[in-house]
Structures are given as C-alpha cells and as structure tokens.
C-alpha cells in the first residue's frame, strides 16, 4: 500500500528540515530555556531553603529571647529578694546595736549615778559624823557638869559596848 512506503524525496527533505531544526534549536533554542528552568528551579529551591533556615533561626532567636527574659526576671527577683534580706539584716543589726548602745549608756549612767550617790552618801556621812561629834561634844559638855552624871554616863556606855559585843 502506498501509505506504508516512505517516499524517498520526503525523507530527504525531512532529514534536512529536522536536521536544521535540531541544530538551530539545540544550539540557540532549548539550552537557553532549559538552563533558565534549571537555574530558576535551583533559585526557588535555595530561596525555600533559606526561608526555612531563616524561620528556624527566628524561632531559635525567639526561644533565646524568651530564655533571656526568663533569666532576667529570675535574676531580678533574686536581687530583689537579696535586697529585702539585706535591708532586714541591716535594720536588725542597727536595732541590736542601738539597743546595746542604749543599754551600755544606761549602764554607765546608772553606774555613775550609783558612784555619785555613794560619794554623796559618804560625804554626807562624814559631815554627819563630824556634826554628830560636835553635837555630841557639846551635849556631853553640858550634861557632864557633875561627877555623878559622868559616872552614870560612863557605866551606861560600857554596858552598851558590852551588850554590842555580847560578852
């Protein structure tokens, strides 16, 4: 059948035409397009990869920030707690010191007062002694004008002394 017998003339033209099409397009046509398809594909892949990395980095950064924030808050509360404690300590210390100082001052004052009092009492006693001796002298001089009275006096005094000594 004539449809199944290839015509040599047409084969000749087809070889030329397809050959020219092939060489022209293989040189100037397809490589340009396929190269662009490849490079664009690569570019898109890279961009996607970069975006993915950036996202990861961002997530990491966010996590880091959160971590830092958390740490800072912990630090802050710790510092605050320390400050409170320190203040309390200082106040406490001041209080005790103040109390001690007061006590000491009071003690000294008391001591001084006691000393003053003692010396005053001593002075008074000495004064009183002198005065009473003088008074006693004067009284004695008046009362012992007769001998009887003198003797009586001496006796009584001796008795008293004896009684005091419990002999």
């Amino acid at each position: 059948m004539f449809l199944l017998t290839p015509d040599s003339g047409l084969i000749f033209w087809m070889l030329i035409a397809f050959g020219v099409v092939f060489f022209v397009l293989a040189k100037y046509g397809w490589p340009v397009i396929t190269k662009m398809i490849d490079s664009r594909k690569q570019y898109i892949d890279e961009s996607l990869e970069n975006a993915r990395k950036a996202n990861e980095r961002l997530a990491q950064l966010q996590e880091e920030t959160a971590q830092m924030l958390k740490q800072a808050q912990e630090q802050q509360s710790k510092i605050l707690a320390e400050a409170v404690e320190m203040r309390n300590q200082i106040v406490e210390k001041a209080k005790t010191e103040a109390t001690n100082e007061g006590q000491k001052l009071l003690q000294e004052a008391k001591q001084q007062i006691a000393q003053e009092k003692e010396s005053a009492i001593r002075d008074i006693r000495r004064e009183v002694g002198v005065l009473s001796v003088e008074i006693a002298e004067k009284v004695l001089r008046q009362n012992l004008q007769n001998d009887d009275d003198q003797m009586a006096m001496i006796d009584r005094m001796l008795d008293e002394i004896m009684a005091d000594k419990n002999i």
């Binding site: 087809m14 397809f18 397809w30």
Partner: protein, 354 residues
C-alpha cells in the same frame, strides 16, 4: 441568563446545520460530477497522501491550487530537471515526465526507459508535504528562538514569563522535568535538545495538520520514519556497556542466553519501528476518520437529498467532536513519542546494579 445564552447558541448551531444541509447538496452534486458518483476512498487518500501541487479547493470546475517546484534527477538521461508542477498536473507529459497511472507508481512522476517501462527518477520535488514541512520547521525555529530571546537579558531572579513565552516555558518544563529528567538518569543535557525538538516538532505538525487545507505531515510514514531513526540513533550511539550486555548476555540461565540475545537484538529495531508506526497510524487514522465522516455527507446526498439532509447535522456534530478528539490526540501522540524515546534512551544509560 446562562440558560438564555445556551439557548441562543443551540439556536445558532441549529440554523447553521440547516444552512449547511441546504448548501451542501449543490456542492456535493458539483463535486460528484456528471456521473453523480462520489469516490470516497480517492478523496480520503488524496487528502492523506502527498501531491505535487498544493490543492486548496475547487470553484466550479476550476481547481484552486498552488503549483510547486518539481526537482528530478533522471538516471536514464543523467541530468537534473526543475520545473513547475503545473506543467504535469493535468496529465500532460513534460520533458518525458508524467504522472503514472500504473499500479506500481500511481500518482508519482515517472519516465520511460528504453524498454518503455516506467521508472522513477530521483525525485526530491518540493511536494505539498515537503513544502509544508519546510514552512512548519521554519515556524518552529522562529517560535522557539523568539521565546529564547526573551531569556537573553533575564536571570533566575526575574519574574517568570507571561503570555506565549510562559505557555512555551510551561510545556518545555513539562517535557523537560516530567519526561526527560524523569527517565534519563545521566547526560540529560545531551538528550534534552533532541527530545524537546521531537516533542514540539510532532505537536506543532499534528496541530497544523488539523487545519483544513494543510498537509498531513505526521501522518506520513516518511516523516515518522526519520523521527524514529533519530531516536534509534540517539539510543544506540551513546548506549553504555550495561545496555549491550543486557542485550547480548542477559541475566538469564545459560541455555536461554542465545534466545534472549536474538529477542533483544530484534528489540533494538522493533522499538523505533513501533514508534514510527504508532505516530503515523494514529494521525493518519484520525485524518481518515474525519475525512470519512465528511464523505458521509456526500454519499448520503448522492443516494437521496432527504437522507443527506437528515444525516448532515449529525455528521457535522460528529466531525466537531472528532476534531476536538484529534487535538487531544495531537498532544498525546507527541507526548507518547517523546516519552517512549526518553524511556528507551534511559534504558541505554541504565546502571544495572546501582
């Protein structure tokens, strides 16, 4: 709104059918000639086959045709001849050449040798198919180069192309990624230009072949023969050792090796032959079916006008359906040819134990 619109379309289609059924009888009778007999097979094969002139239509008895150059080399006389096909189309003899009416070279230009037998000269005439082939090839080159020009001043960070270049890139990308890269593991750059050429060449010629008045190129076995030959060469020239080992020393029991070698060796040739026949037969059959359907109109009218009038709308509807189908086939066959070529090339580059 939508319903009204589709009603309108239906109405227009019906009116067109009616008009066609009134118009066609006259032309059918005219082309049927005095005898009124319409030779469907001659019409079909005339359209599918090649011819020395580009015949578009007949107005009355006058043929509207583009005469094409005839280029012959006569072995008998040992010289070249170049003349217009209009000199021989009406059955005349020019320089001893005439269109054969014999069985062997029917419709081809022949001359007579000294014994008076018909012999074919070396015939590289720019026939209708050859002429269409050159035009379509030029068109393909221009289309692709025009697209390629768009990429000249662009880099990968530019926006993707739009419009026609975008369409082309989409198709190139489809063939390149899904067919070529998917099937060929190594040396993609060596094979990609050929496979892209094959795909777009077949697709473009399939589509152009569907236009009434154009040539049926991919439904011509000479064209598919060359395409299949290219695939054959591409597969076998660069084939690696693994491929030849698979053919001549396949991994089968020893007693089967000679059998397999014969089968595989035949396979080297049957694969491209199958490619050649598949493309040719699909496109040729599509054209034949369309033409046969058109012939139905003429045949039924030659039987009776009533039958013709009834059959015509149906036939036209079927023709439209078949035309859509052929557009689909145009793509599918181009895709299948490229896909199988890529698979065969992939097999020739396969690494068995990797």
């Amino acid at each position: 709104m939508r319903n009204r619109k589709s009603d309108k379309i239906t109405w227009i289609v019906c009116m067109m059918m009616l008009a066609i059924s009134f118009l066609i009888p006259s032309s059918a009778r005219a082309s049927g000639g005095e005898g009124g007999s319409f030779d469907a097979s001659e019409m079909i094969f005339g359209h599918i086959g090649d011819s020395y002139e580009w015949h578009f239509t007949n107005i009355g008895e006058k043929a509207i045709a583009l005469p094409l150059p005839v280029i012959l080399y006569s072995r008998e006389r040992g010289e070249w001849f170049l003349f217009s096909s209009s000199r021989i189309m009406e059955g005349e003899t020019y320089n001893g050449f005439y269109l054969s009416k014999g069985e062997k070279y029917k419709g081809k230009l022949v001359e007579q040798d000294i014994n008076g037998d018909e012999v074919r000269p070396l015939d590289i005439s720019l026939t209708k198919n050859a002429c269409a082939l050159l035009i379509n090839s030029l068109l393909l080159i221009l289309l692709v180069l025009w697209c390629a020009r768009w990429y000249k001043e662009k880099d990968q960070t530019s926006d993707a192309p739009r419009g026609f270049v975008g369409l082309m890139e989409m198709m190139v990308s489809m063939v390149y990624e899904d067919v070529i890269k998917a099937n060929i593991p190594v040396h993609v750059q060596r094979y990609a230009p050929y496979l892209l050429c094959a795909f777009f060449f077949i697709f473009l010629n399939n589509l152009i072949g569907l236009i009434p008045g154009s040539a049926n190129l991919t439904g011509n076995i000479a064209i598919t023969l060359v395409l299949a030959l290219c695939t054959f060469l591409m597969v076998n020239i660069f084939a690696n050792k693994e491929y030849w080992k698979e053919i001549f020393w396949a991994d089968v029991p020893l007693w089967m090796k000679p059998v397999m070698a014969v089968v595989e060796f035949l396979g080297i040739f049957t694969k491209p032959i199958a490619l050649m026949i598949r493309l040719f037969a699909n496109i040729m059959a599509g054209h034949a079916a369309l033409l046969a359907l058109v012939s139905v109109i003429f045949i039924t009218f030659s039987i009776s006008s009533l039958l013709g009038g009834l059959m015509t709308p149906l036939t036209v509807l079927f023709c439209i359906f078949l035309d859509f189908l052929e557009v689909l086939v145009a793509f599918i066959q181009a895709y299948v040819f490229t896909m199988l070529s890529a698979v065969f090339i992939g097999l020739s580059q396969a690494h068995h134990h990797e």
